[in-house]
Amino acid sequence: MADAAASSRVFPATIDEYPRIVDFVGEKAAAAGVPQKRLPHLRLAVEEAVVNICHYAYHAQSGKIEVRIEHAGGEFSVRLADNGVPFDPLTAAVPDITLSISERQSGGLGIFLIRRMMDDVHYERRAEQNILTLVLRTDT
């Protein structure tokens, strides 16, 4: 039976820091046996999520992001918790990808990519924290 594995680390929520968070998640994912072809998807989703947190939850002020990784039951999940203002990225309007160049807006692309790259995405607001969880299924 596979062990449930978890690890967590706290990072400063600054734009400069996102590469370290992405690398942390990437290394844990590779070690957990997440398929090679999903690793770029995961790294991109984590970058998008972290950049959103820095901009919208912390408005570029200082703050922290707790990154908790779990691998159990065929799911590899990345849980990002911050203490910023309430920010639910899943409420962003879905970009209309059929619009022409002049009509296309640039908003909502980050969360759009997160949803397309991950198998599941959850958000909850609990105890003054935004908690965003990205999930990859590893047993398919």
């Binding site: 734009i15 990808i97 160049i101 640039s106 692309l109």
Partner: protein, 109 residues
């Protein structure tokens, strides 16, 4: 018959993400200010693109279009190709496998 436009080739290599889009946009805006109206982004060496990168491509495209110009993309691969496809950018920009299909010159010629 109108001649085909000549595209200026802008190679985009490495990553186009939050950290690198400012320099990329500046480079393109400078070309536009010099009168360039058609740009092809050579994505052969681009390993990674995020939503920031997509946004900056859109900004450049809108500026070119405002001057009756156009943006084209060339040879995206790997996750770059996936992101371009998922975001519908391959519907609004022509995507070429290589530069042979276009009349081009390099920036600075």
């Amino acid at each position: 018959m109108q001649p085909d436009p000549v595209y200026t080739v802008v190679p985009v290599t490495g990553r186009l993400d939050t950290a690198t889009t400012t320099a990329f946009e500046k480079q393109c805006v400078k070309l536009i200010s010099e009168g360039i109206s058609h740009i092809v982004l050579d994505l052969t060496g681009l390993q990674y693109i995020s939503s920031s990168g997509l946004r900056s491509i859109l900004v450049v495209a809108k500026k070119l279009q405002a001057n009756d110009g156009a943006l084209a993309l060339c040879n995206p691969g790997g996750i770059v190709q996936e992101v371009i496809s998922i975001s519908g950018f391959d519907n609004i920009f022509p995507v070429y496998d290589n530069l042979e299909a276009l009349a081009t010159h390099s920036a600075g010629e």
